[in-house]
């Protein structure tokens, strides 16, 4: 673990605060993510895990605090620069967020066409083919999202985030709502992505199988703060009842 500390963090979150009216969701949250590392954020439902990563890509504006990705402060980026940063961040939404009215192919094409304006049809075809092969769903180009199972949707979602070769991945509950076997496949996929592309990830989860398999480091989010931090085993053996409850 000491080796990670000497490396430059890819994502820095400092004293992040976010409230909705009287609902103080995040309260001085701190987190660093290093290159090539999978950090799992563990927390109960409604503690603000989704809010945390949405602040990180400015889908929500933080009230206070500093967030840096690749050394750039996210909070004061102009529109164009923000888009450039967003192209380097992959976001898997909790509900997969595939575009219902588009085929799988069009879903994958969308971020490509939007972020890279000059790209030939051949390049697009090749990238889509590789992206689908990466998630073991080759040949589904013409299908509509409604025809896909939950697990397939998650995988297409991952393919869509991979297609731009992001350096940071944000996974919002990648295995929730899936059977254990499909969940394991998704875990495997996330590890493979990390290994192949040396990406850094923030994985939000309360599926302990997913946490055990994918986490290099686990952060426990309670009351809007980073309550505890450590490897899976360190936290599992903790005596704190707030931490223990996740492992029972």
């Amino acid at each position: 673990m000491n080796t990670t500390e000497t490396r430059e963090p890819v994502v820095i979150i400092q004293n992040l605060k976010k409230s909705f009216g009287d609902n103080h969701v995040l309260n001085d949250f701190n987190l660093n993510v290093y290159k090539g590392e999978n950090v799992v954020v563990l927390g109960r439902s409604g503690t603000g895990k989704s809010v945390l990563i949405k602040c990180l890509v400015r889908l929500l504006d933080a009230d206070e605090g500093e967030m840096k990705v690749f050394g750039m402060s996210i909070t004061d980026l102009k529109h164009k620069e923000l888009d450039d940063i967003r192209a380097k961040i992959g976001f898997l939404f909790q509900s997969s967020a595939l575009y219902d009215s588009m085929t799988v192919r069009e879903n994958l094409e969308f971020p490509l066409r939007r972020h890279k304006h000059k790209i030939s049809k051949q390049e697009v075809d090749a990238l889509i083919k590789t992206a689908l092969e990466n998630v073991a769903l080759a040949g589904t180009e013409a299908m509509m999202p409604a025809e896909l199972s939950g697990g397939m949707k998650k995988r297409i979602g991952i393919a869509r985030m991979l297609i731009l070769n992001p350096e940071v991945m944000l996974y919002d509950e990648p295995t929730t709502g899936l059977d254990p076997i499909t969940g394991r496949e998704i875990n495997h996929l996330m590890l493979e992505v990390q290994r192949k592309f040396n990406t850094s990830s923030i994985i939000i989860s309360h599926d302990m199988n997913c946490v055990r398999r994918t986490a290099n480091r686990v952060v426990v989010l309670i009351n809007g703060k980073c309550y505890a931090e450590g490897t899976y085993d360190e936290l599992k053996n903790s005596n704190d009842k707030n931490i223990k409850q996740f492992f029972d």
């Binding site: 967003r86 192209a87 509900s95 967020a97 575009y99 969308f110 939007r114």
Partner: protein
């Protein structure tokens, strides 16, 4: 005490919200980048999806209004005026309003439900992180498409309703198509058609802005989607009548009578 003001308060906050939303449309809609492909696709979708419904309703309106007007015209011995009287009321009022109401039901609820479900399933967020301004891509295109398509649909429905009226007239008396069209265009003038086309633009704008507003700000998951679709229809139907009322007043002031 505060309870009694609650509905009033929510009414004004709704009106305010919609106005701000419409203002944002004008601010963002005319700045590049423009989403031309999406605009074309939406125009086609919106026009094509309502074409049959509007056409059939137009035909029935023409037919029914003629049949219904016949007895009273006959009683006054003014049967020969039937084509001109019916065509003026169809073109000036009945067809534009009925078409707008159908579109409020079909297009308004469609937009509300579609954007609502895109919102609750985070598709709008996904667009935003994909380097797209969702307001431009989703809202501006739909508002412009509906605003442009509604007058076209009204002109189409006008034409079909006049055919319907021709059949209605022929059920009671025999009149050639040439004579019928002559009679219509003797009475029906530019000042009848123009205000009805102009107000159709406003109908389209109102319907789309309300559908988009309701869909874009959907909350509370899937339940909210149903509510967004429903209230899009209710509010835009109401707005169609308000616009119609204003249009009648304005046309009167400008002597488009």
């Amino acid at each position: 005490m505060t309870k009694t003001f609650e509905p009033l308060k929510s009414f004004f906050s709704e009106v305010g919200g919609i106005s701000i939303f419409a203002g944002r449309f004008f601010r963002e809609g005319f700045l590049p980048p423009y989403e031309f492909n999406e605009l074309l696709r939406q125009s086609f979708e919106i026009g094509y999806r309502t074409l049959t419904l509007v056409g059939v309703t137009g035909f029935i309106m023409g037919l029914v209004i003629t049949i219904q007007s016949h007895p009273s015209m006959e009683a006054f011995g003014t049967e020969s005026w039937l084509p001109s009287v019916v065509s003026v009321s169809l073109v000036r009022e009945i067809v534009p309003v009925i078409t707008a109401l159908i579109c409020a039901g079909k297009i308004g609820s469609g937009i509300g439900a579609e954007l609502g479900s895109m919102n609750v399933t985070e598709q709008i967020d996904a667009m935003e992180v994909s380097g797209t301004n969702p307001f431009k891509y989703l809202i501006v295109t739909r508002v412009i498409a509906t605003t442009l398509m509604l007058p076209i649909l009204v002109i189409l429905a006008d034409t079909i309703s006049l055919y319907g009226a021709f059949i209605g007239v022929n059920m009671k008396q025999v009149i050639s198509f040439n004579l019928y069209t002559n009679q219509i265009f003797e009475k029906l003038s530019f000042s009848d058609v123009l205000p009805s086309i102009i107000k159709s633009f406003f109908f389209g704008f109102g319907i789309a802005v309300i559908g988009c507003y309701k869909g874009y700000y959907t909350r509370n998951g899937t339940e909210g989607v149903g509510r967004a679709a429903n209230s899009s229809v209710v509010v835009s139907t109401f707005v169609v009548f308000i616009i119609d009322l204003l249009a009648a007043q304005i046309a009167d002031i400008l002597h488009f009578t």
